[in-house]
């Protein structure tokens, strides 16, 4: 089993390298070139040319890439011309915030979506199924930024139950932190819950028609065990696959939710960087996010080997 994981890790590293090449190509295509992305100079052509020479950007592309790559590897991602903070510093400040949002919504989506799908699959055609499936279809179709706006209108503006935005770090109060995170996590988690519910429902229904379910019943096992242990276990692969596929939409969701709820995370940073032409920050964010995705996909891949005994164990 270790081999399988190792192989995937190697592929992930290769992908990461390729991704950095893509980013470098994009950086190269920027108006002003790579100098603009690594230095704090964006306006003065003379200064740009000077830093270009310093970074070796008048040399062959491959050399440029190597120099750029080693700078990136050392965490020297440049300085934001707007905030005058180092990009690395900005990123590390905001990563925990966005991580909390991302993990919170993932958890919410899974905890709500998977059991809902199982319950619907266990009662096909009944009221529970129709309601759950209908809600899932709605959650799937609703644009989450609109959903967020509506939620704010209802819960913050009219009911005054929850804050309308912002962020409170945990050391300043766990309860406050959670109350600020609740609506954003719900808004983000809804889409995932909807997709997961539908996929789980389909997989469990299919599993329930399998022969091994008949065997489980023939053993006299209680129905809940047949559904939640035997059927669900074999649906996990598709569930994990869906989670992996949804990760791509998560970044778009994070950016919009951070915008709507004014949360000072990576998403907000990205948007500001685009509006303000803050190329160093943009480069840092893109690199970080791409790396994050590759790692996340690797984790999904690894969990396959853990779930499916056929992948990790060769027939003996």
């Amino acid at each position: 089993m270790l081999w399988a994981i190792l192989r995937r890790a190697v592929i992930a590293v290769v992908t990461l390298l390729l991704a950095t090449i893509v980013v470098f190509a994009a950086v190269h295509a920027l108006p002003g070139g790579p100098a603009v992305a690594l230095s704090a100079e964006t306006v003065n052509p003379v200064a740009i040319a000077a830093s270009a020479h310093r970074y070796g950007f008048d040399q062959p592309l491959v050399v440029q890439y190597i120099k750029w790559f080693s700078a990136v590897l050392h965490g020297q991602l440049g300085t934001s011309p707007i905030t005058s903070l180092s990009v690395t510093e900005q990123l590390s400040q905001r990563i925990p915030i966005t991580l909390e949002l991302a993990i919170g919504s993932l958890l919410l989506g899974i905890v709500v979506g998977v059991p809902a799908g199982v319950i619907a699959a266990a009662n096909p055609g009944k009221a529970v199924d129709w309601i759950a499936s209908g809600l899932a279809l709605g959650g799937l179709s609703i644009p989450h930024f609109w959903f967020g706006i509506i939620m704010i209108l209802i819960f913050a503006v009219h009911l005054h139950v929850l804050p309308s935005g912002g962020f409170v770090p945990i050391p300043q109060g766990l309860g406050s932190n959670l109350s600020h995170m609740l609506l954003p996590a719900i808004v983000l988690g809804t889409g995932l819950a909807a997709v997961l519910m539908r996929q789980t429902r389909a997989s469990v229904i299919e599993a329930l028609g399998a022969d091994y379910v008949r065997t489980a019943r023939a053993k006299g096992l209680p129905e809940w065990q047949v559904i939640w242990v035997h059927a669900l276990r074999n649906s996990l692969i598709t569930v994990v696959t869906v989670i992996g596929l949804q990760l791509g939409g998560l970044i778009a969701g994070i950016v919009t939710v951070e915008e709507v709820f004014t949360i000072p995370g990576i998403g907000q940073l990205t948007l500001n960087a685009v509006y303000q032409r803050d190329y160093p920050t943009l480069q840092g964010v893109v690199l970080l996010t791409a790396a994050g995705y590759i790692v996340a996909n690797l984790l999904v891949d690894v969990s396959y080997t853990l779930i499916n005994p056929r992948i990790s164990r060769r027939p003996g």
Binding site: T215, A216, A218, G220, L221, H230, N308, P309, G316
Partner: protein
């Protein structure tokens, strides 16, 4: 009959537009092996499933299934779940798909022990090992943590059998237990079943279309056709040439005699196909394919009569053979 472990009375299994099992009755005495024989589509698998209440959804089942006098089709769900695996167990045809691919075989056998015998932990594992040895698996301890896909077909079927006999049931229903296996493995599994039946005093309902299996294992034979019982007799009578129903004779004639000279023995087949009835038959169900068909056969489906002691047949032409 009293003393019978299992008795099925007037079992009728219907789907929209199809009567799969029509008024089937049989009984199984203690320590007896009854073979239910027929072509694909005759309803024998559904019969086995209906005994345990495992028929597919959409099936309407009427009739009685008496386990030592208790009607299983009238008990509550909890009692039925207590019976399954503990008093009546079932072995299915396809061991690969009948075992959950995500759990070890040890776990799946332990499951039935935990459910019915209350065994846990080390005692449970020891019992699973015991069972694996009982069904003839080499190095049983090693197989505890094996997954179904790591085992051969014969091994998987041994696991299914171990699972079935784990809680010492009174009745074992074996639905085509060897059909999906290689011929050499088939013989091994049949040996195993025979041995288990002797050691554990099992009563077995053996569902099969393979007459070779019948001769190897069964005491009595029940021939099914289009959901009806056409003949029931001791195996020695049926296979010894005393079969009475034209259909049974047709089945026997269609079996190539191993070693028989090719010049003298031609395979004869029964022309046509098993009908799928959507209503109670108004003629003998076999009349459309029967070589002995006469006007009387087209009047109604013949009832069962005891042509000889212990030998039942549903044919008006049978005595004339």
């Amino acid at each position: 009959m009293t003393g019978d472990v299992l008795e099925v009375r007037d079992l009728r299994v219907e789907f929209p537009g199809l009567i799969a099992v029509n008024g089937l009755s049989f009984s199984l005495a203690a320590d007896e092996v009854l073979a239910i024989v027929g072509e694909s589509g005759c309803g024998k698998t559904l019969t086995g499933l209906s005994v345990l209440g495992l028929e597919p959804s959409g099936a309407r089942v009427t009739g009685q299934v008496l386990l030592r006098g208790e009607d299983l089709r009238r008990t509550d769900a909890k009692r039925l779940r207590d019976v399954r695996g503990a008093e009546i167990a079932m072995v299915f045809q396809e061991p690969m798909t009948s075992l959950n691919p995500s759990f070890t075989v040890g776990y799946q056998v332990a499951e039935v022990l935990r459910r019915h015998s209350g065994l846990r932990g080390a005692a449970c594992r020891a019992r699973v090992e015991e069972l694996f040895a009982l069904v003839g698996m080499p190095t049983p301890a090693r197989f505890l943590r094996a997954y179904p896909h790591q085992l051969s077909g014969g091994m998987r079927q041994r696991v299914m059998i171990a699972m079935a006999v784990a809680c010492d049931p009174a009745v074992l229903i074996a639905d085509e237990p060897t059909t999906a296996l290689d011929p050499t493995i088939q013989a091994q599994i049949l040996d195993l079943l025979r041995g288990l039946r002797e050691r554990l005093g099992l009563s077995v309902v053996l569902i099969t279309h393979n007459l070779g299996v019948v001769s190897d294992l069964a005491d009595r034979v029940l021939v099914m056709y289009a959901g009806h019982r056409l003949e029931e007799a001791p195996v020695s009578a049926v296979l010894g040439g005393a079969a009475l129903h034209p259909y049974t004779r047709g089945l026997l004639d269609a079996v190539p005699a191993a070693g028989a000279s090719r010049r003298t023995h031609r395979l004869t087949s029964i022309g046509g196909q098993v009908p799928l009835l959507d209503a109670d038959p108004v003629t003998c169900v076999f009349s459309s394919r029967c070589p002995l068909v006469a006007d009387a056969c087209l009047a109604a489906q013949p009832g069962l009569r005891e042509a000889l002691p212990g030998h039942l047949v549903a044919c008006v032409r049978a005595a004339a053979s």
